[in-house]
Symmetry: D2
Subunit: 473 residues, 4 copies
Amino acid sequence: MLAEIKGLNEECGVFGIWGHPDAAQITYYGLHSLQHRGQEGTGIVVTDGDNLKGLKGEGLVTEVFQEGSLDPLQGNGAIGHVRYATAGGGGYDNVQPLLFHSQSGGLALAHNGNLVNANALKHQLEQQGSIFQTSSDTEVLAHLIKRSGYTSFKDRVKNALTMLKGAYAFLIMTETEMMIALDPNGLRPLSIGKLGDAYCVASETCAFDIIGAEFVRDVEPGELIMISDEGLKSERFTVSSGCSMCTMEYVYFSRPDSNIQGINVHSARKRMGVQLAKEAPIEADVVTGVPDSSISSAIGYAEASGIPYELGLIKNRYVGRTFIQPSQELREQGVKMKLSPVRGVVEGKRVVMVDDSIVRGTTSRRIVSMLKAAGAKEVHVCISSPPIKNPCFYGIDTSTHEELIASSHSVEEMREIIGADSLTFLSVEGTLEAVGRKDPSENRGQCLACFTGKYPTEIYPDTLHPYEKELVR
Amino acid sequence: MLAEIKGLNEECGVFGIWGHPDAAQITYYGLHSLQHRGQEGTGIVVTDGDNLKGLKGEGLVTEVFQEGSLDPLQGNGAIGHVRYATAGGGGYDNVQPLLFHSQSGGLALAHNGNLVNANALKHQLEQQGSIFQTSSDTEVLAHLIKRSGYTSFKDRVKNALTMLKGAYAFLIMTETEMMIALDPNGLRPLSIGKLGDAYCVASETCAFDIIGAEFVRDVEPGELIMISDEGLKSERFTVSSGCSMCTMEYVYFSRPDSNIQGINVHSARKRMGVQLAKEAPIEADVVTGVPDSSISSAIGYAEASGIPYELGLIKNRYVGRTFIQPSQELREQGVKMKLSPVRGVVEGKRVVMVDDSIVRGTTSRRIVSMLKAAGAKEVHVCISSPPIKNPCFYGIDTSTHEELIASSHSVEEMREIIGADSLTFLSVEGTLEAVGRKDPSENRGQCLACFTGKYPTEIYPDTLHPYEKELVR
Amino acid sequence: MLAEIKGLNEECGVFGIWGHPDAAQITYYGLHSLQHRGQEGTGIVVTDGDNLKGLKGEGLVTEVFQEGSLDPLQGNGAIGHVRYATAGGGGYDNVQPLLFHSQSGGLALAHNGNLVNANALKHQLEQQGSIFQTSSDTEVLAHLIKRSGYTSFKDRVKNALTMLKGAYAFLIMTETEMMIALDPNGLRPLSIGKLGDAYCVASETCAFDIIGAEFVRDVEPGELIMISDEGLKSERFTVSSGCSMCTMEYVYFSRPDSNIQGINVHSARKRMGVQLAKEAPIEADVVTGVPDSSISSAIGYAEASGIPYELGLIKNRYVGRTFIQPSQELREQGVKMKLSPVRGVVEGKRVVMVDDSIVRGTTSRRIVSMLKAAGAKEVHVCISSPPIKNPCFYGIDTSTHEELIASSHSVEEMREIIGADSLTFLSVEGTLEAVGRKDPSENRGQCLACFTGKYPTEIYPDTLHPYEKELVR
Amino acid sequence: MLAEIKGLNEECGVFGIWGHPDAAQITYYGLHSLQHRGQEGTGIVVTDGDNLKGLKGEGLVTEVFQEGSLDPLQGNGAIGHVRYATAGGGGYDNVQPLLFHSQSGGLALAHNGNLVNANALKHQLEQQGSIFQTSSDTEVLAHLIKRSGYTSFKDRVKNALTMLKGAYAFLIMTETEMMIALDPNGLRPLSIGKLGDAYCVASETCAFDIIGAEFVRDVEPGELIMISDEGLKSERFTVSSGCSMCTMEYVYFSRPDSNIQGINVHSARKRMGVQLAKEAPIEADVVTGVPDSSISSAIGYAEASGIPYELGLIKNRYVGRTFIQPSQELREQGVKMKLSPVRGVVEGKRVVMVDDSIVRGTTSRRIVSMLKAAGAKEVHVCISSPPIKNPCFYGIDTSTHEELIASSHSVEEMREIIGADSLTFLSVEGTLEAVGRKDPSENRGQCLACFTGKYPTEIYPDTLHPYEKELVR
């Protein structure tokens, strides 16, 4: 929900399981724990060994799947997907898993991430006679597999993957097999778990905890894993380009109970808050965090600074799709929606307000102004990550420089715009330090492109085709 | 949501406004902020000076009222109600406000609390020929007003109120007037606010913050307030028996951003945590709270004890009415629903788990066992209120001694049942101390009946009629 | 559906069964067959011997009751109701059966007809302290039963019935008994059937055919029938005033497969057509009827006149609540909704268009104009009943003289308004003749008040209270 | 609805309009009038000159399109489709119009009929790398157009059409043009109309009457019509093989108010009844038809035989998707669903029951048994078409010989199975005679394959692929 406020949207989460008699139900609970990664739509495809059957729809997991709707999805293997929340769109067709039938068998695809050369590939494929049913980049993979000259399915998949550039965590399922592929940079998280004898795979480890599965290991960049009734096999479809895990997964996207590459997200966030208190010591009376994602860093800040942590902002639960938005008039009269300040806590106080990031600045401005209206004497905004100056092309919805306030404003200008008494960002080094590496000898790098502009892959922003832009929005 | 887990359910919240052109919309936002007080059903009645019009239904505020459904509710005065979540229901008829039409005019009623002599009154009224349409105790007031011998409406209302015993915060609305009545013990919270020139009234002050209104004052026990286009007048229908505010409002029910009798709920909770750390110092590695209601006290405990506060438990959002419950089998395989432990935080640690209260003990047992399964070395349960040994007859859904584990077990027995390494409750004195009084000279007492068994009013538990018991459950 | 076009609406149908293990399901099918008598709302109340349980809602039988929704309605006795379609409503509260709970037991009521002294009775009851929850006249009976001084339930019911004036077919159910009462004039149809050992009762005999029950006999005017596990007993609560069956039941309301007082409705209608052809011989090429209610009389006309019967008008099925109404502009461009003419049949022809009645005249005008636009050379409108000049106070929705074109216009004036080449009505005598009496010695009279103005009971039109008028509309 | 009973299902209806500002609305009304041709799903695609936008869904026209849902479909051109009702079926993906986006523009397809070589074409296309999203034969056309070597869109379409075999009435729409194609045998009806300056096209002329359009002419077999803002142009993509209009359109499928190739359907049916009375004179008391499709022929039979026509069978309206089906037990107790006999009409009578066709015989047996249970002394079944002995491969859902009772039983055997006193079929010659030709010099032949086994095209029944068979059912 806060995602909408902020303008930072993760593109999707995936979950799969192989070898469990209740594969669809388990996938339902897995997807439910990944709901924060996408609220636009969701789907599950299941195989009973002979046929692929799917159900998908627009909305939340609990909206699309209702009592009884999983009953027809019988089978031992399943993959599922949650899709991120856009304003208008994409529609039913783009909800994943995509499911293809052909006379030689079925194919289901679930994808987290974003391909940077999808439009070029699409153009070529259409020239050769392919017809695309969706406006999603994911469908490209199906066509590449179909058209690959290789004989074995595995070789066709590997062949197809080599043509893709960008970020992708793919689940691919046929009637008899599940495949898992991660891009050579490992830009998006993807982990393997075990539930009894069944293998499972998820964008975040929190899904394993919810279903009672054990974490086994993370998928390696450039790895292709094949799971079937014969068990799990692993190959590489390419040499890893060196891991570049999205830093924003730690800062904002992932659930605090997930571990990404062995690092607990809540703990990383708390360390960011601690680091921030070191980098920016402030004299104040209370520390407060913007719920939900900044609670951990705010507590870290409070502990490190010795300033008491208080609930200065409350998030309204129950604000869903059907909430009647207040008219502009009522909004001006002071009707609040998603967040409200706690007057009893902030009145007359100097407040340190910890937030995880600033995208357009509008949310920060609104919160600062709320806190001041509720009587805060000073509001010091402390951001537990560096300024986001560059768009992400790997699956996060900040597509243009124009939308990013930090790309065109200094910190002081931003401070003035949001009306804070001070504004501090965590340094890039501090961020890396706070995330921490289990073992520096391992190749566990971070993607810092949105802060630094150094993208780990080539970028083809000019290939976006007009009709896709429109459909995507 | 957690309410369901715990078995402690508040019976309702009320909101009203008079003198605002968007009375129904404002009431919608007010009710939305009180949603935690009741999720079973909700309704709004509005007056345009000539007629009362209402809309109500079973479900959440955002489910009952959808885009456009408030449009027909035009008028300057409105009252609304949220009703607590029971399993089977009560049904549509019992959703409030109750709305009565007669040839001499309409009457709408919204009620928070519970009458203890409702059945005796009902019996008498039925003997005299009255027909009740609902199984709610609230309807009694309408019949008493109707049958009162007095001429003026105000006198009829006062006359009727004198026959009621128990807990009630009533909103009463006719075409031309809104009345507000609080029982002589002031058992439930009720506050007056102002939004521009309009008066508003709400069960909790958080509703004022959401709509941008100013807090004016709390309603006094035994007070009858009349609001019309002539303004606000106040009278007493009885001498106050001395205020006995429900202590559980501070401990558990109210939103942390509400102030009850001038005391901020979050701050009171934090003080409970502080007090608990003083009364029960424990050697441990991390402090964690059970979300959402125990976060404040856990933070207080952490600050006072110096043990770091961590996110050891995560609440699953999006678990609503339509969530597909896992089968017993899947549950035993470890599928979790509303809460999940954060392995990365608790593994190998000695954990202080702060919770607000224990009702049946089943939730505590489940959480302790989750934490241990996630690797916690020790789990010390610290409850930020005294043991609940006695049922509440004033509007909280703990109707029998049998359901209350503390009524028949010692603390040590409870500790064993829930499987904790230690179990501590806050003392009654510590609870009172932590809530705190703004001014001891004011008559600001607390109802402690569920802890001590000393009820501030007479109790007629034997008058509960079989059919009502059934319908209520 | 046509009902809406015409402005003639039956107020309700009732169905009940006692002694069948699937009482609710059987009632569902019974109500479904009576759906033409009311589309606004429907409900079923069932008794399992100890408790009354009900389910009701606004909409069609198939909308209110869905797969699974009858499951909780277990019991051997049930009554049900379908309510007529009004524009705005009446709302949920007025949907029947009405269900009342009291400490001495429950009471369910289902009513077809209209009381003419309901407002006077209501006024008196409210003076005595009664509160009405609905704006329906039906609720009066519950209050009268409640307040009756008699001891036995049967005597209370009889006592209450003596105070009612107007038209009523009542089904009354307690936990242990079903009662059936018909007004002393027998204005509305009501028949008893048997399904195995179970007794059933319905507004029309078509319900018996649908559920596979046998017709036993019609309920007598002024009769009170009591059905319980002891069997069926009959008493009279008053001497019959002489039967006055509503003639419009034959002409328009009832289903053609129903028998009313032993006379098949289709056959009666066909005889009306035959009689019409005798009274009004016309030179024409084709006879066509307005579907659905005038098909029988049109066929009768065709057979008697020797002019071939053709499908000159088609009714659009599937036009329900959710049909998107064409804008005025599209309507003027010729978009049709409920009826369309068959050009291939009427083009260049002299058409006899048989319809059952004219209320406001707007429908007739529209149909004549359609037929002419489709090429009909002449359109002769033949109405198989006399002009409706007077409002009905017994349960048919023609409440004012103003709405009835025949009350202020001559036949020639009407002909001109509707644009027909000729307009003929069946005579009152011809109507009676066509309906036919099985046995003239039996007291089987007809109510002809809407044609003749001779009402079989007193009428108190001035007692309608403003708020009721509003609510009713 | 009866379609379901009978097991004869038309596969779809199409409607299109070009040059009208309310294209989507008009299409909605057009589709609504074609609802009898398909109840499984429906969709509309509209063009505003730059983009194609569509909305489709499973269910009736009034279910898929609700108030407001047409608002986003702005544009001057639109095509729409209604899809036939299968039990499990086909799902959202197969609902038409199919809509394809590519970097060179969009393409929408609506199809009535069935291709007999779709599987062979699909196989070939998949070999070449095409991926099919639907299991419908319609999608083949899109891929053929896409892969055609020709440059101009018109040439590509013509080229693609030459590869198709079977029955098809196609509407093809791009952003700037609508194309209409009819198969060389003209197996399915398709007509052109005009609404003001706008051209429209529909499967049946009744759609023109509903929207107020004028009939212009029928589309010719092998004709390709192109409509754009430049007006209408016609070409031939092949020489017609001689028209073979499906005879069942006259007998059963089409609405009685439609004209097919200049012949009114009701009139043709009435002539079938007349012819039947000539071929099979029977001594009886009443004639009755099975509603709705056999009413016309029953009336014809009655007029020709002099036996009075009566309503002996009533169809229950309001039996939709959500109707709760009676349990087997209740069905055996006599609960009826779609049809019920009119006891008052048939009791003690010798009944001629006219029906249009017999597919599996189960419906006929049920109706005969109902009539006898209602007291009919004799039941003579007269079928207004010849025995259906052969499956249809052109878009009617009688896919196997096994399902067709007439393919393996003599008339006398069938009579015995259905329990009738006599059973008569109209002769093939009588059927042709009754349908009638406006002008024998015109090439207006009929397809009689289901009666005679003489198929007007090649048939490849063995090409049906397993997965398609399953999906289709």
